[in-house]
């Protein structure tokens, strides 16, 4: 037990040290903090309209119904295909028009209907990482 807690404690300390000392922070999203607002997290559910499997980001568009029943098309941006494949995505299989998905992400600063997608939850409850965590602009 002592060994276990010591190992956990050492891991924690190392992680903390890494966070404090590590200026080698990473961002896969170009200028995330300039384009998106990390203080505006959103989770939205809707029907997939179309997908752009492109670099340097993939995009997918989802029809989302608001409280009053009005439908708006929202654009979601995420990893490029090389990163998506490593997260378990498959082109034309994982995400298809007509699917119902719930997407978690952050709103853009200017575009009213653009989201940086972080995670997609599918109808069967499975999830795939779609993009990087929110950046602060320090990376």
């Amino acid at each position: 037990m002592r060994t276990l807690s010591c190992s956990v404690c050492r891991s924690g300390i190392t992680l903390l040290l890494g966070l404090l000392l590590g200026t080698v922070a990473l961002s896969a999203h170009h200028s995330f903090a300039a384009q998106y607002d990390a203080d505006k997290p959103v989770t939205m559910t809707g029907t997939v309209v179309r997908i752009e499997w492109t670099n340097p980001h993939f995009h997918f568009y989802v029809n989302v119904k608001d409280d009053k029943g009005a439908v708006t098309e929202w654009a979601f941006e995420g990893y490029p295909p090389n990163m998506l494949v490593r997260q378990g995505w498959k082109k034309d299989v994982s995400l298809k028009p007509g699917m119902t998905v719930t997407v978690q992400g952050w709103r853009a600063r200017v575009e009213p209907h653009l989201i940086a997608a972080r995670e997609v939850t599918f109808a069967d409850g499975s999830k795939l990482t779609a993009g990087p965590p929110a950046g602060t602009g320090g990376q």
């Binding site: 080698v24 170009h30 670099n55 340097p56 090389n82 602009g137």
Partner: protein, 271 residues
């Protein structure tokens, strides 16, 4: 007789490796770092920076990597804050206040050295007796680095990745990089430099699965002393370099142009 000697030697080696005999660094290594035919450590393989595992493979894999470093007694990489002179620090703060909107990478420009080493996309090293070749998935960049003792060419022009030549210092590959342009950031947002930048990279394969990367950025124009950073590169068995054509559908460009017209939207609020 010969057979007996060979058999005993094999048993001795097996026992030593199973007993976890401590190495020079006091670590236990299940599998020794491989060596090339010329006796030099072999850096060949597909690698990724430990910090990049978070994005590429998730938090769990990053935590496992950090734990294995602790278990193997590997020192935690330390990166000092950049020792900028006041003027250069002012520039860095300017870019930080603009939340990285000026990042050359957002325009799909190639990252320089060492920033390219820290990207969340892997790179592959091919080691040959007289040169080492780096292929980076990021920007499809490559570096062909002679290790035969030749100096930098005389006709180099300032470039994003600079010009690299290398030599072996014991078991460490030391790469000397010069002739940089000033269109790249060194590591993080706003880490500016001048054309006087000289980067020294040290690659040490300290276990089968890891390369210890120590980089010194020397630029008397912007720094009060050389800036040092460290990272552990991790071997990625089963990985392969994939395509990443950055400019294909880079909507960032249009959005950034739009944002630049209204600083109050993207800039940090001033106190």
């Amino acid at each position: 007789m010969k057979t007996h000697v060979a058999a005993w030697m094999a048993i001795a080696i097996a026992v030593l490796s199973l007993s976890g005999a401590p190495s020079a660094q006091g670590t236990t290594k299940a599998k020794p770092a491989p060596r090339a035919a010329n006796g030099k450590p072999d850096l060949s393989g597909i690698w990724i920076a430990t910090g990049a595992l978070r994005l590429m493979a998730g938090e769990a894999e990053l935590a496992a990597a950090r734990k294995s470093d602790i278990d193997e007694g590997r020192p935690t990489p330390r990166t000092e804050p950049p020792p900028y002179k006041p003027e250069a620090e002012k520039q860095r703060q300017y870019y930080l206040d603009r939340r990285g909107i000026d990042d050359p990478m957002a325009r799909c420009l190639i990252s320089g050295v060492p920033r390219i080493s820290f990207r969340p996309l892997p790179f592959q090293i091919f080691q040959m007796p007289d040169q080492v070749v780096f292929l980076y998935e990021t920007h499809h960049a490559f570096r062909v680095i002679p290790t035969d003792g030749r100096p930098h060419p005389e006709d180099v022009e300032p470039s994003y990745l600079g010009d690299s030549v290398a030599r072996w210092d014991g078991d460490t590959l030391v790469v000397d990089v010069t002739a940089f342009n000033t269109k790249t950031w060194l590591i993080g947002v706003g880490t500016v430099h001048s054309e006087k930048l000289r980067v020294t990279e040290r690659y040490t394969r300290d276990s089968y699965n890891t390369i210890r990367y120590q980089v010194t950025m020397d630029d008397p124009e912007v720094f009060t002393k050389p800036w040092k950073a460290e990272e552990i590169f991790r071997l990625r068995p089963g990985e392969r370099i994939r395509e990443y054509e950055c400019i294909e559908n880079n909507e960032d460009l249009l959005r950034i142009e739009k944002l630049l017209q209204n600083e109050s939207v993207f800039k940090r609020p001033s106190n």
